[in-house]
Amino acid sequence: MKTPLSWLKDFVDLEGIDLEQLAHTLTVAGLEVEEIHYIGLPMPAGLQQTKVSGLSWDPDKLVVAEIREVGPHPNADRLVLCRLFDGQQEHTVLTGAPNLFEYRGQGELKPPLKVAYAKEGAEIYDGHQEGMHKTVLKRTKIRGVDSYSMVCSEKELGISEEHEGILFLPADTKAGTPLADVLGDAVLTIAITPNIARDANIYGVAREIAALTGRALKPMPTEVQATGPKIDGAVKLDIKDSELNPRFVLGLIRNVEIKPSPAWVQQRLRLAGMRPINNIVDATNYAMLELGEPLHAFDYDVLVQRAGGKPPTIITRPAKPGETLTTLDDVERKLDDFTVLVCDTAGSLSIGGIMGGLESEVTEATRNVLLEGASWNFINVRKTLVAQRMSSEAAYRFSRGVHPAMAPRGVSRGLELMRQWAGGVVDAGLVDEYPRPAAVVEVEISPADAQRWLGVALTNEQMTSILASLGFEVASKGDGLSVTVPDHRLDIETGVVGKADLMEEIARIYGYDNIPATRIGDPLPPQHGNPELELEERVKDALARMGIQEVMTYRLTTPEEEARRLPPGTAPDDKPYVKLANVISQERTVLRKSLLASVLEIAERNARLRQRIALFEIGPVFHASEETLPDELSRLVVVLGGQQQPAGWQAADSAAYDFYAAKGVLAELLAGLGLHDLKYEPGTHPSFHPGKCARVLAGERQLAVFGELHPQVQGQYDLGAHTLQAITLNLEVLSELAPERFDSRPVPQYPPVIEDLALVVDESLPAGQVEAMIAQTGGNLLAGVSLFDVFRGDKIGAGKKSLAYQLTYQHPERTLTDDEVAKLRERIVRRVTQELGAKLRA
């Protein structure tokens, strides 16, 4: 909300208060000042806690001056020369302002014209350029006449965008006075959060300032000079649904003269962000901005006419099925059954609290004005705004809640402003229907509450003083206080919620800064870990240690994007997507089902940037479920491709990631988590090469699938030269299987015997089977079996392969004899020879 400083001063004395400090005080108390826009007042130098904009007027260079005579320019019809006195001396000033032409050639002006005068070097806005651009006034020659100063338009001063003519100042301003002393102002832009809707008006902000600075708040301006006949009988009221329309107030002013509002009124409205229209409409807007009660003005004579010459009856009711109304913005609106209309006996006039209809609006011809101020159910106003896609200043306020008590105050203020600006006579009294009076809210609080909520010892007197400054009525009750909520706010509830509401008010005004920071004294809750998270962190650390980079990706994607992880024509799985009902981008329409697709997208993004791709992510995938909420399943994906070692300038290890490199990563990861006795067997998964895919089983449970990406999948990503390996692992299974602890083994005290054993077997025999049999046969004395070479070639014949193992024999309590080792070896060789058809390689 835009809040002009000059307007605030109508209600609270700001003399001696630094503007920056005021903005800070408001901000800390919950009325965040987003910006201070300076109009001439001095801007602070250096550190500014609040964003500032606008212009300061140099007190020496921008002053009030008087134009004593306007004469013709010798060489230009569209320019005039002014003889001007700046308080010290006379100058000749050249201008093209059209609103000075009428004074040309009149000789000495009596009285002189008071204007804003800018001297050489003054900073002003450039009046001739589109938009607002600052410039410094320089000495120049225009059409042969020396020019070093100027008389200013509103735009040049930064007051408005008006540049049609120069600005005239009141006749009683004194030449030589710094302009900032006469016209200087500033506009605070305040963010109004829902809980301070009551402050979406000048008086509300002034009330907060008064409470925060300890200054007096002037009374709310609700006096109206009503000298006309009693309003009774001029209009009737009929509220059909008091739930939606708890109060409706009407006032009447007769014989107004429609014309522009006084200049200072137009100025204030502009600064507050509203466009001046005419004195009647401006009065409704001014009163709304000032007190927060939106008003609506009807042409009374139109209503009388619609009522067949009789006093009109105003009816408020929900819209009927199929009913329409053409609103002020010239849109014909189809109304919902919850839209509340203001009608007369001839039909609808406006949408209650939101926007008027065209027919009964105030026009140039209006003579008598019926002024409405009402109270509307704010939730219903919100629903209507959403349904009708509308907004207005009135609706902004009504949709956040305006107390019904504000209705007569607003109408009285509006009538008085109309009387002052448009003449006319106000009918005595108001027509006021209030079928559903707002509850009077009372809350009891005590110093114990302040101690419990805020941790501060406050006395009843301190709390009373704070609450009273905000308009609460406070009486003492027992050990504490009984607090009555003032009838301009709707945000305070009863009971324990009310206590919290009041604690917030007390804390805000007492000052958050003044509440001491303490450490929690309450008992520490029972401590327990988060095993799933801890396992994830161990997995992340292990993979990072293996040189693999963690990524975090979008969990929103599209089915088309995810389809790239499967070869074309793959039958869809039976798991439905979790689809968004409202889509903001066509690239984000569903929650992902595949983490592999997410990581492959990142591999693609980096494929042309890096010779080595090693990425992993841990995160959820989402499957729609029969239940209300989808399944969120935790997965790990690792993607590897390109060189295993980054390239340097030296001849480097240029081995590429292959199936076995991926298997190594997975095996090391699982071993590091204490998982042993896992079974690796050929796997099938549509994303992988059918011959280069394995699955990892723990008993009957599938823990992971890994392998080389299917060539057709590979082809659907732009991966450059990289052939990718990928691992997908189910973290839920992992967290069930990973042991909390394991038993360590003692370090042997006796030397091991290490021997090589090379076996020639059929190509089709899986190496895992050979190793398993060696290990089983070797028993406890065989401490290690490790394959160190696989050889194929003529020497051993076609269809055969040689597997070379290093065997480590070890007895825990003594040194093994050669004889013992030889017997063990013989037993192993005999068994693999007999059962697997292996031959000892010579």
Partner: protein, 350 residues
């Protein structure tokens, strides 16, 4: 015996002329080998009389020891010279780059989340995680956002197709949705006397917003919640100030501003003194000297009640912060979209 003296002088003279290790080996064969003059002389000792023999033997031995010592000295000298020569010739260009090793890194957001979690863990806050897809009830209603309430405007949601129209399914807009789950879970342990709570709730959240350098459709958040019979706004200030001083630096000042969140009352935004300029004003803090860090407040009585904690007995505070914002401030990252784009040129910097 003059013969021995001559052998010695000639041998030492020959050694003096030796310049390299090969010649030294030749000298050793010539002077100390089987056919050397000294060896021959020692062999001929037997021909001497018994009286002459001990003295001559002793002298011959002295000559042998002297030659051996001279040889050893020469050998060490030559070896030293060779080492000096090779050391002075073997010179590396130490400015050539080192051999690159693959360093795996954690995503910067993981790193920030770990820092946050670790600091709060030391204050007794444990990690509680809950789901990404929520109901309106848990994301809004139970957190004191009534239907059509103005506060809902601040959080535009992604809704999920299907679901109950009365209680739509949506992607959580804040990890605060986990507050109710956590409170109810704790309260269920002893409904008559629910235990105190101190948790942080990290997780991914979603908002229906256009993506820009300042806003994303998904973002991480860390919510915090402390509930007990004696928890005050002063404790909120103290705990969060302790956090800021651990996360940023020990001397950083904090500032609390009144604010509004439907699920807390009183509510506060915490700012920290800009750690780039120490409050003097710079482009990072937009010349205000302060950085907005997190939102917080005392848990609203309705939220406590919805979680199974009687607000007449229990109080608590909650807070929420954005790890992306904290990371962006800490490393002066200009564009929030970097985080989920995962360009290696970005990730490799952390």
């Amino acid at each position: 015996m003059e013969n021995l003296q001559t052998i010695r002088e000639q041998a030492l003279a020959a050694l003096n002329a030796v310049q390299d290790e090969a010649s030294l080996e030749q000298w050793k064969v010539a002077q100390l080998g089987r056919n050397a003059a000294l060896t021959q002389a020692m062999k001929s000792l037997g021909q001497l009389s018994a009286e002459e023999r001990p003295l001559a033997g002793k002298q011959a031995n002295e000559v042998k020891l002297a030659l051996e010592a001279a040889f050893e000295e020469k050998r060490a000298a030559l070896e030293g010279a060779r080492l000096r020569a090779s050391l002075s010739s073997e010179k590396l260009d130490v400015t050539l780059p080192g051999r690159p090793l693959p360093l795996g890194r954690l995503h910067p957001i993981t790193q920030t989340l770990r820092r946050i979690n670790a600091i709060f863990a030391q204050m007794g806050f444990q990690v509680y995680r809950s789901r990404d897809v929520e109901t309106d009830e848990y994301n809004f209603l139970l957190l004191n956002f009534p239907p059509n309430h103005p506060a809902r405007e601040m959080q535009d949601s992604f809704y999920v197709e299907g679901g109950d129209p009365e209680n739509p399914t949506l992607l959580r807009t804040h990890t605060s949705a986990g507050q109710i789950h956590a409170m109810r879970e704790y309260a269920a342990k002893d409904p008559g006397n629910p235990p105190p709570i101190r948790i942080v709730l990290p997780g991914m959240c979603y908002r229906f917003e256009q993506v820009s350098s300042r806003s994303e459709v998904q973002f991480t958040q860390v919510e915090g919640l402390a509930v007990g019979e004696n928890i005050t706004f002063g404790d909120l200030k103290g705990t969060l100030t302790d956090f800021a001083q651990r996360f940023f630096n020990a001397n950083v000042r904090t500032r609390f501003r009144a604010s509004h969140f439907p699920f807390t009352e009183p509510s506060a935004e915490m700012d920290v003194e800009c750690f780039v300029c120490s409050g003097a004003g710079c482009s990072v803090c937009k010349h205000s000297g302060w950085l907005e860090i997190l939102g917080s407040g005392m848990v609203h009585p309705n939220v406590l009640r919805n979680g199974g904690y009687d607000p007449d007995t229990y109080s608590g505070f909650a807070f929420g912060m954005g790890p992306e914002r904290l990371t962006m401030l800490r490393y002066r990252i200009e564009d929030i979209r970097y985080f989920w784009r995962n360009d290696m040129r970005f990730l490799e910097q952390f």
